[in-house]
Amino acid sequence: MSFLKYPFWEVIKHAFSREVWETLLPAVWDTLYMVVFSALITLVLGVLLGIGLSVISKDGVRPIPVLNETASTIVNCLRSLPQMIMIIVTLPLARMLLGQSYGVNACIIALAASCIPMYARMVQGAFIEIPKGKIEAAKAMGSSSAAIVFRIMLPEALPAIIRAFTVALIGIISMTALAGSFGAGGIGDIAVRYGFNRFYHDMLIASVLVLIVMVEIVQILGDLISDLILRKRHLL
């Protein structure tokens, strides 16, 4: 149903009809699949890369200036690519790894490649926020570098790391919608094929609703978990 042909409320009402959701639901599952897997990859590799970046940085636990410069430049290059370009660039990579450059799995590679550097920078930022004195206290007690990273820095920065992950996750959701138009399927694909190409505005409204609900859930959960930790530590 299009706004061009039908009254406003009719279209809105039809957005909740069975017909629309029968088409949309499989796409929702595709989107969830892409989001969950790329989020997991981003979480693990992003935290690791973030730890690496802060450990070798100038004020880090084990400064390695040359490696720090190189890694920073690479991360910045990856970060400066618009997400759309990143998808196009990683398509050949997906073909190499998976044998095909379309579909949800191919998209996961693009999503992860784009979000890992962003999330790593946010994790690095969370570490920088830790008061320097705490790290020094740990050093003064004779802690090894590994103990400082895994027993002090990670737990101290945990609430900030979770908050950053919320932002990254929402970024991933919005990027899956974009990837939809590059053969990844999912909600974005529906929105483009039906909503844009064929003026199925009911479909478009339903797609947008799903995205809003997903983002809201992520945001509320992320805030909740990070607040719970802060409350437990009496910092809130």
């Binding site: 705490k134 020094e136 206290a137 740990a138 027993r151 009496h234 910092l235």
Partner: protein, 262 residues
Amino acid sequence: MSAYIKIEGLRKSFKNKGERTEVLKGIDISIDKGDIFGIVGFSGAGKSTLVRCINRLEEPDSGKIRIGDTEITALNKKALNIRRRKIGMIFQQFNLFDSMTVFENIAYPLTLIKTPKRETEEKVDKLLELVGLSDKKNAYPGSLSGGQKQRVGIARALANDPDVLLSDEATSALDPVSTLAILDLLEQINDELGVTIIMITHELEAAKRICNKVAVLENGVITESGRTRDIFLDPKSKTGRIFLEVYKEFRQDNTFTGGEGI
């Protein structure tokens, strides 16, 4: 008796925007075992840098630091890390780990040397009793007052039975009542455990209250040092005199508590 801690010709400079500023200009200090040694001076005199050089949180440019039989300045990284476990340190900002409970904070240094669980528990309980915080064992630092936080800091610093305790303005962020309580606690620790304490402070009252020896640091140079009584009775250096003047004025205003005569 030869000194337990000996600092000789210690120099340290910082590079700031291409300009080199010398913060410590050849420091010589001797500290005996069991001393509570105060290092007093105004802000920017280099006190913090000096005390941070002792456990090499700052690397000295030149000079020697010896504690007991160990030449601190000659240790490699690994050996330094091991020696650091026997040098306690407390800070103005407490620097407790917010992610750990009071118990876990105090147990942290013990876990670094893989102390058995039972032993750790006993040790921490004993320390909590010493600093009077047994009821806060499972609290998080975020719920404690400044004075309580510093007590946890002290317990944590003592966990590995250090021979030296470095105090970097440990009472400067506390109210007068907590300050006195913490100072008394430090004195008690020195008395009961025989820990040598090196105490950096800009509060003369604090130094006067518990230090048996004092050195006055002025622009990176020790201008005078000796028994606390002598320095307070007859300061020879400019900082010493200004300090005493200000201190006397404060006393007349009744701003400071604890008023035994000098």
